[in-house]
Amino acid sequence: MNVTVKLFAQARDLAGTSQANLSLNEEQSVKEMLASLIDKYPALSQIQGNLLVAVNNEYVSSESLIPANAEIACFPPVSGG
């Protein structure tokens, strides 16, 4: 399946884009999605250990499966306020 991953802040800057289009197999985990993302945008490996993933506006763990037709986002730890 094709998924679009929104990128923010340093993740966007390192990837050089605010949206990454990935082709994933069905039933892939967040961890596998991140591996595909870093494979496509190797500069993201600099902050690999810190990347957070949200699915439909909720944080998800690296073992979660990526659902179809979901809004997916990937970004570094937040620093607002």
């Binding site: 923010f8 340093q10 763990s61 970004f75 937040v78 620093s79």
Partner: protein, 148 residues
């Protein structure tokens, strides 16, 4: 509107007025402002980026959680995004409640959790012209958001 991302200066007076109520004996307002010095490093400006849909959802979730824990009458969070100069207000949190202890606790909870959970990021503009995304994970004071 109880939560808002805004790319123009925050009118914290309006935010505060919006939580005042005859049922309230206490109002607590917190303002985060752009500080010039972080240890020995000198800031000239900040840039804030946000994931707007999720940031709004998470700010509303914080208010809902605070309402479950304390007898809040009104609570409002506004966060600025974009470019901010020294001294400008980056976030305003206002809470009213019948008694002051609850207003203080809820206000502190909202800003503490905002800094952990709400997808907003700060980029420092240092005086030497360098810019740097701030990563709480590399600072001892913060912990990353829960993986839900």
């Amino acid at each position: 509107m109880t939560v808002k991302l805004i790319d123009t200066p925050i009118d914290y007076h309006a935010v505060t007025e919006s939580v005042r109520d005859h049922r309230a004996g206490a109002v607590v307002l917190f303002l985060g402002t752009v500080r010039e010095f972080t240890n020995d490093q000198q800031t000239t400006a900040l840039d804030y980026d946000a994931y707007p849909e999720m940031a709004n959802a998470k700010m509303q979730e914080l208010i809902d959680e605070a309402r479950d824990r304390w007898p809040i009458i009104h609570a409002v969070i506004e966060h600025r995004i974009g470019h901010l100069e020294l001294g400008e207000v980056c976030v305003a949190v206002a809470v009213s409640s019948p008694h002051r202890k609850d207003a203080f606790h809820a206000g502190q909870f909202l800003i503490d959790e905002l800094k952990v959970r709400v997808p907003i990021w700060k980029k420092e503009n240092w005086i030497d012209g360098q810019t740097e995304w701030v990563h709480p994970a590399s600072e001892k004071s913060s912990s990353p958001p829960p993986p839900a």
